[in-house]
Amino acid sequence: MLSRDARTGGDIALRLVNRFGGDRVVTDRATRALYASDSTENEPHTPRAIVYPKSVDEIRALLEIAREARCPVTSRVAGLNVGGLAIPAEGGIVCDLSRMNRILDVNRSEQYALVEPGVTWGDLKERLAAAGDEFVVNYPLAPPETSVLACCLMDGLGTLTMRYGSMGEWVNGVEAVLADGTVVRTGAASVSPVWFSRGPLPDLTGLFINFQGTTGIVTKLALQLWPKRRLRERVIVPAYEWAGAFEFSRRIARTGLFDECGGFSWPAAKMLFGVAVPVGRAPAEPAIFFAVDVSADTHAELALKRAILADTIRGVRALGFHFDAPLDVNALIAASPGFSQFSDLPTRLTFLIDNPGGGLTWIGAYGPMSTMEEAARDGFCVMARHGFPPLLVTRPMKGGHYAVMRFVETFRRADPADVARIRALHAELVEVVLDAGYIPYKLPPSLVPAVMRRMDPGARDLLQRVKAAVDAQHILNPGKLGF
């Protein structure tokens, strides 16, 4: 419950200004409105104030003020999670961490970068290039101004997820401030001066991953870096039937030889080429395009991998499925420069971000490779019934142990009828993905009940107890995980 003080504002704003100075506490109506919503259908809530801390001590001070006033605090960097996760509680405080943006270390021997919350994918790319361009990271398809640390905490995914796993697995440990002001370090760095791994200790890092900022404010995160191979190329493989497409992605993942096999369905390709609302798949048009990344240290290795890719395509063709030969992404860019949005990461997918209706949302879910067809078939059926094209982003994860299916929609954000249409769609779509054994990631608050209903009661209870242990007053990003 919010205190009367928090609901009315009381003297919180004054106390924040006294502690942080007027230039780092914003309470004007226009700025608060900017922080009240995101691109999705999730209900907007206007915060009381936005605070821009610069240090761990300042975060502790902010939490002290919030505790005393029993006022909710929501951490945020770019607010582009596409799930309503950084929308604050009504009358709460937004802790905007974009000014804590130092890359504290690029450790070459143990291969990790130690970052603060405000470090963006663009910053990290620049820094790695300046530090000799030896390493690669798991770039998402997200804009360059978004946070590396937030993506890890949300267990996001990127172009090296097929090889090395989702973003949560790239984390060696964190430093976090709990609601009561305690500062904790997790992973190897809780004992050693070097942030070299998660273990060999009880995995406290997990207390902050997939918790959407409800268990602590993370102030440092050690992100694994992986060696950059000397040669790299991206090809696009058009597939004409869904069943063949999923079989292809399973086979590619199991070779263990490729970095990425990210599929995007025909509406994404059409939108990339400027069609705002694709109405139908034209006759004889590919259903889905796979971006396959091949990296190698020698030309012989590259040639061998190309040959294995060709062999894999032959194998699925032999099952009766229709595939085009791989297209060099540079040829596509030469034909249509917009295609570079799928080549140079991090990227701004302008056809999604700047779509005419302004609304962008999705249900993305991780689940079994064996039910990809089922999830796609039933998901598309629901999308069609609600009038949306089958816009899907999919890829095998972690060598094909599981997969992601992300059903994406653009909509008219200012139109209540369209917002209602999205809500109705998502209410059905979440059940479809759960039925196929999939679990939504970056779980939007409105979908939490559907997931919790199916969760093992013991696990559900334990989650509540963990939350109570680290945030007894429930001030950290309330409402996001059903608590």
Partner: protein
């Protein structure tokens, strides 16, 4: 060149892919070039410095006098559009052409392939 895509929301990818190349092409050209990539099919109807792109299966109107056809795999067509591997693709028959040779020549030159 001025490019008009007929019924853009349901245009196939081949037509959409060709758009930028056609916008940068220089006319004038008269006639219709049919481009076939695998099972995708578009007709490019040129009138001076303008071109209308139609899906192969939704062509209407009287076909013009000058007509030509280019057929190949998507990757071979993309290569040729960049001016790469033109000879190889013809020799290996990854690209096949037919119809009015003068129209084909003008088309290739307009796209910068030759």
């Amino acid at each position: 060149m001025q490019v008009v895509i007929r019924d853009e929301p349901s245009m196939n990818l081949l037509g959409l892919l060709l758009r930028t190349r056609l916008e940068n092409a220089t006319g004038p050209i008269e006639g219709e070039v049919e481009v076939v990539a695998g099972a995708m099919h578009v007709a490019l109807r040129f009138r001076g410095d303008a071109v209308e792109v139609m899906r192969g299966d939704s062509r209407t109107g009287e076909p013009p006098k000058h007509r030509a056809r280019i057929e190949g795999t998507l990757s071979a067509l993309l290569d040729c559009a960049r001016g790469r591997g033109v000879v190889r693709n013809f020799v290996t028959r990854a690209i096949r052409v037919g119809g009015d040779p003068r129209l084909l020549f003008r088309f290739a030159r307009a796209l910068g392939t030759l």
